[in-house]
């Protein structure tokens, strides 16, 4: 954790942590330890006995749900935040919203990949396949992650700050519209889904599992907030470095314009 060695809580002095984020960070770690304990020791295997007397269910694979489901929700949260921040950027044109869009997109991609990987691992024992093209949510999530990987690729290309911010915002908006179109078209493409539609609503789920799942949401949200705070502050400090570099370059430029006068700054 990058905060461990930071000796000051002052963000402006070059650290991305504060007392609050340190507390939050430790809470996330503790919460994750508790989550592991709950998921492996407390929650029973997922089994049901059918009317024919067969034992069915997800067995141990159900424990992956405590990573997979929060990841999926956090990925969509990240992309949703990117969408809103991009809209806000185009409206108000401030660095704050631009950094917000960038930071949440990175975290969204992180959780998006985690969702796909854990989903794939879970699908192998449960659906007997690593990947299922007929599943709408799976394919939509994959396309969404690809769209935002492209978004991050654009952000990585050096360009004038305002130009890049504006282009990125448009890409995020188009990407969000695109998710809806992809979702609809994939749905029509294979009009079926393997995902359980209503695990929670139908109350087929055990109380222990439900509690642990809720707990995993809470831990996930805290982790998301912690990551976002640090990523945002890192980007903010990077902007400040840029600003200082511009000021330095301006002084050099003034010295160039008037060698005798340059040290004093602008006439």
């Amino acid at each position: 954790m990058s905060t461990a060695t930071a000796s000051t809580a002052d963000v402006g002095a070059g650290s991305t942590s504060s007392r609050a984020t340190k507390v939050l960070g430790w809470l996330v770690l503790a919460g994750f330890a508790v989550l592991v304990a709950l998921a492996f020791a407390w929650v029973p295997e997922d089994t049901r006995i059918t009317e024919q007397g067969d034992v069915v269910g997800q067995f141990d694979a159900v424990r992956l749900m405590f990573v997979h489901v929060p990841s999926a929700i956090l990925a969509y949260t990240g992309f949703g935040l990117t969408f809103l921040a991009s809209l806000a950027y185009l409206r108000w044109r401030t660095d704050w919203w631009d950094i917000m869009a960038h930071s949440s997109a990175e975290i969204g991609v992180l959780f998006g990949v985690l969702t796909l990987v854990t989903g794939s691992i879970w699908g192998r024992p449960t659906w007997q396949t690593w990947w299922e093209w007929g599943d709408v949510r799976l394919v939509t999530t994959l396309v969404m992650v690809l769209v935002f990987i492209g978004y991050l690729a654009v952000r990585r290309i050096p360009a004038d700050g305002a130009v890049q911010a504006r282009r990125s915002a448009v890409i995020a908006l188009v990407g969000a519209v695109n998710i809806v179109i992809v979702n609809r078209s994939v749905d029509w493409w294979e009009n079926r889904t393997l995902h359980q539609q209503s695990t929670l609503i139908a109350r087929k789920i055990r109380d222990e599992t439900l509690f642990t799942l809720s707990f995993s949401f809470a831990v996930g949200m805290a982790l998301f907030a912690w990551l976002l705070l640090h990523r945002f502050r890192t980007a903010y400090l990077e902007r400040q470095i840029d600003e200082l570099e511009v000021q330095e370059a301006l002084k050099e430029r003034w010295a160039e314009a008037d060698p005798a006068d340059g040290e004093k700054g602008r006439p």
Binding site: G150, V154, A159, A162, V170, L173, N178, W188
Partner: protein, 230 residues
């Protein structure tokens, strides 16, 4: 300052489209490079599927549209490279032409080129993959609608990456996930046109038309924000 009227926007869009198409007819980059590229891709598909005539017939619609999308990347990149080659892009900004007209004109020219490419490739698929066309009306409508959708989305993303470094590699990364619905819809429509059972081609045509409409409107609206910069 005369406000941009609808008629002026149409006139300017037509001017831009005419300019782009005339340049393409002159330079023959499309005919000499993009079409041979597309035909080569079809040949590679045949090699990959190992002379299995039945498989080729079955997958012809999908292979056709993947080929069109790959060729479209080249056509879109070319459309913007022409403007960037010797500073004409700056002059377009300075001309005072409404951004909506620039978007419409470029998209129209790209769509026109894609339709020509589709006609040639369709002939190639019929000859090389041994498919039979049962519904010509559906084939034509789906071809035009898909070309319009790809051109609209492609023009938007072409402008997004124009002037950025590494735009040749950036365009595929950004555009291909976005046009995935076109691939799905156009493939199903062509399956129907080629006589596959239960493909419901006309319903998929609706998706293609909707895609073209959404990206047409979105592109026209956001093009101004993109051009305002620099």
């Amino acid at each position: 300052m005369p406000p941009a009227t609808g008629a002026a926007v149409l006139r300017d869009a037509w001017l831009i489209a005419g300019k782009d198409l005339r340049i393409e007819m002159r330079s023959r980059v499309g005919l000499n490079q993009i079409v041979p590229f597309a035909v080569t891709v079809l040949v590679l598909f045949a090699f990959a599927l190992d002379t299995d005539q039945e498989a080729l017939r079955t997958y012809a619609p999908g292979l056709f549209w993947v080929t069109v999308l790959l060729a479209a990347l080249l056509a879109i990149g070319r459309s913007f490279a022409v403007d960037l080659a010797d500073g004409a892009a700056d002059r377009l900004l300075l001309s005072g032409i409404d951004p909506i007209a620039v978007f419409g004109g470029k998209a129209l020219a790209i769509a026109g080129q894609l339709v020509v490419l589709e006609v040639l490739l369709a002939a190639g698929v019929v000859l090389m993959f041994d498919v039979t066309v049962y519904r010509y009306g559906l084939l034509v409508c789906a071809g035009v609608a898909a070309a319009a959708g790809v051109a609209a989305a492609g023009t938007l993303y072409g402008a997004l990456v124009a002037g950025l470094g590494a735009r040749e590699t950036l365009l595929p990364v950004l555009l291909l996930p976005v046009v995935a619905p076109v691939l799905i819809g156009a493939t199903r429509a062509f399956q129907d046109a080629f006589g596959a059972a239960g493909a419901e081609g006309w319903a998929w045509l609706g998706l293609l038309a909707g895609f073209a409409a959404i990206y047409g409107v979105f592109g026209a609206l956001s093009y101004g924000a993109l051009l305002e910069e620099a």
